[in-house]
């Protein structure tokens, strides 16, 4: 089975503070890999490195076993097929969900292609379909700024989906969602996983249990251990630093 993403000994140093101290991580093609770990373990930072937001001080990130992402600028990384949802929803407050998806949609994204871009019937339907799927069809013409937190979360997931990525990075996608929606989101992610690999950071153990095949635990900038949720649960160290008495 082929690797969609592999990180070797990735290090990040924030003016003295070592947020990542040599992370090794593989994501198989088409799998849903969960990344868990204590607050401040470096999960978000790792995603930042993968999608080019933070430059690693050391180490290598290979995409599809060929392309090195550490050198590429953000938008190039996206073109390779890496999409990323941020921990705090980061959408365009002055646009409507429909418009946002129109922009996010997979398409030629150069200046001149955009200058001449026209909305095709197919694209229109594609966007509306997705809007229904993420429960925003009714608010599609409101300003995104006026959406509730949860709605923003979904919109942002939508923004990533419509790019049809090969690898999807989700940072706490269900934060601020109620039980029902969590399940829905889970289903959604499952569906996505049919067409692309997913790397999810999440703290909600029930959710992880429900939807994970493989789980990686990070701690203090390193990978602590990995395995199925069951295996992880039994790991003493994980209990101490992360799970606590529950789980």
């Amino acid at each position: 089975m082929q690797l969609i993403l592999s990180c070797h000994n990735v290090m990040v140093d924030f003016s003295g503070f070592k947020a990542l101290q040599g992370v090794d991580l593989q994501v198989q093609n088409g799998e849903i890999l969960f990344l868990i770990g204590p607050n401040g373990a470096g999960k978000t930072t790792l995603l930042d490195v993968i999608c080019g937001k933070t430059k690693s001080t050391n180490g290598e990130v290979l995409f599809n076993e060929r392309i090195s992402l550490t050198k590429l600028p953000e938008q190039k990384i996206v073109h390779e097929g890496v999409a990323r949802k941020f921990q705090a929803p980061s959408i365009f407050l002055q646009l409507t969900p429909f418009e946002i998806l129109e922009i996010a949609m997979k398409q030629k994204k150069g200046l001149f292609s955009i200058l001449i871009a026209k909305m095709s019937k197919a694209q229109q339907e594609k966007i509306e379909l997705l809007l229904k799927k993420i429960n925003l069809y009714d608010v599609r013409n409101d300003l995104a700024g006026s959406l509730a937190h949860g709605q923003k979360q979904w919109l942002e997931i939508g923004m990533q989906l419509i790019q049809e990525p090969k690898l999807l990075l989700l940072d706490e996608p269900i934060a601020g969602m109620s039980g029902e929606e969590r399940t829905k989101t889970g289903e959604l992610i499952k569906e996505i996983a049919k067409t692309c690999s997913v790397l999810i950071v999440e703290h909600d153990m029930d959710f992880v249990r429900k939807f994970s095949t493989r789980v990686v635990v990070m701690h203090e900038g390193r990978v602590l251990c990995e395995g199925t949720m069951e295996e992880i649960k039994e790991n003493e160290e994980v209990k101490n630093v992360y799970l606590g008495r529950s789980g």
Binding site: K53, F86, A88, S90
Partner: protein, 300 residues
Amino acid sequence: MSIIVTQLFNGISLGSILLLIALGLAITFGLMNIINMAHGEFIMIGAYTTYVLQQAFIQYLPQSVFSYYFIIAIPLSFIVAALIGLLMEKTVVRFLYERPLDSLLATWGVSLILQQVARSIFGAPNVAVVAPEWLNGALTLNVITFPYKRLFIIALVLMSIFTLVLYLYKTPSGRRMKAVTLNRDMASCLGVSTRRVDSTAFALGSGFAGFAGCALTLIGSIGPTLGTAYIVDAFMIVILGGVGKLKGTIIAALMLGILSTFVELSTSATIAKVIVFAFIIIFLQWKPTGLAGVKVRALD
């Protein structure tokens, strides 16, 4: 050799003046994000305050005490400018915290008004402030002269920086000020009375401008358009230093002061001006958030 030393002193002296005019802006613009185009006019207010006080001394007090008027002028110009600043905050600026760019336009209007008002009160021609005796003359160390006025201004600047740093970084009130400028709503949810903080901050910034105005009467002209000569430099220094970074502002002022004096020595005032501003442009390319600017983690 001596010319170099003199130039170095001139550079530092110019830097100290630039710093003096930028200090107030470092608060109103640097911290409060009010693009205060009327800053120059507060400098003017400080200058005219000094002038008025001088006239009062000439009018009502014996010649013998005249030379002390400047001692009083320093705090007075601060107070007058601060009060007018306070008034402006309550009537105009207050409504603009949420939209900093609009503040540029409103304060521009204010500056137009203040200039004309000054012209109507004091007349269009420049007025003169006679420096007190004890500030005339210069300290001469083997052929190099250090004018007392310049030394005095440098001292003033050091003093103001000291107090300002103390205030911002060591007092709760300074902390509140930073909090409010960072996130007004949250600050008030924590019990900080944002209104008071805002007014204080803006008054403080205006006060420092008035302060600068008082000092400038020693070396420059006093007229209704006095402020326009300094406003741009002031902004450039705050920007170059990194908005909201006092340390940066200080370094920037000295850097520009020394740079421009030395370039001017070997070329001309015009070329020096071009080079200094070109330097600012290029420097910011290299450090987009200024000298002491820091990258924040937030996405936007």
